[in-house]
């Protein structure tokens, strides 16, 4: 049940691999990192490049979770 978590743009953190079964569990794990807390509050989440809006979203082995902080193109 290993998932990869990627932190995009200004979060500036290398990808990590974790054993978690849902976004709920992932949230609890990432919250232990104080530097990540502000990003958890303002980032959107994609799993395998699909935007997700449900914390109960299940994760399976090999899933790639991506955190997308606030954007500004142009």
């Amino acid at each position: 049940m290993v998932v990869t978590v990627e932190f995009l743009g200004p979060i500036g953190k290398e990808p990590i691999e974790l054993e978690v079964r849902s976004l709920e569990e992932l949230s609890s794990f990432l919250a232990q990192d104080a530097a990540l807390q502000p990003w958890l509050k303002n980032s959107a989440v994609a799993v395998n490049d699909e935007m997700i809006t449900d914390r109960a979203h299940p994760l399976k082995s090999g899933d790639r979770v991506t955190l997308l902080p606030p954007v500004c193109g142009g």
Binding site: G9, L40, N42, P70
Partner: protein
């Protein structure tokens, strides 16, 4: 057409190429928008990160929406550093007649600002500083917070 370039865009070359293609395809209207880095707040330039898989998905969705109205969208964007007075963004809409292109260019550029997965940084004193105050959270943000 979604084109990503390292550094500033060569605007005349890109527009000349797009224009050359689109006018021969019987589009009567071609409306480009060019975004240029302004000298404000003491910055030396801007810098960009982008996430290509979701940018392509966002762009393809727009291309499908435009096609329903007989139109096409095109976009070019910079990755990395772009100095003052250089350009980092081109959006363009082609349509058979002007009205559709005029409407779509406004919506296309505004939706780009709100939803394209691109991150902007100010360049100051050789440092890259995230433009947090000008950035917008994507839909569904805070899911893990």
């Amino acid at each position: 057409m979604l084109e990503i370039y390292d550094g500033p865009l060569e605007v005349p070359r890109i527009l000349e190429r797009w224009y050359g293609v689109q006018r021969r395809r019987n589009f009567g209207a071609f409306i480009p928008f060019v975004g240029t880095v302004r000298d404000e707040g003491g910055i030396e330039g801007l810098s960009f990160d982008l996430y290509r898989p979701l940018l392509e998905r966002w762009f393809n969705h727009w291309q499908e929406q435009a096609a329903k109205r007989g139109a096409e969208v095109a976009m070019a964007h910079s990755c990395g550093d772009v100095p003052l007075f250089e350009s980092s963004y081109i959006a363009a809409v082609s349509s058979p007649k002007r009205r559709v292109a005029l409407e779509l260019i406004d919506r296309f550029v505004e939706d780009f600002k709100a939803n394209a997965p691109i991150w902007k940084y100010d360049l100051r004193g050789g440092e890259r500083i995230y433009a947090a105050d000008r950035s917008q959270p994507l839909c569904g943000s805070g899911l893990l917070g």
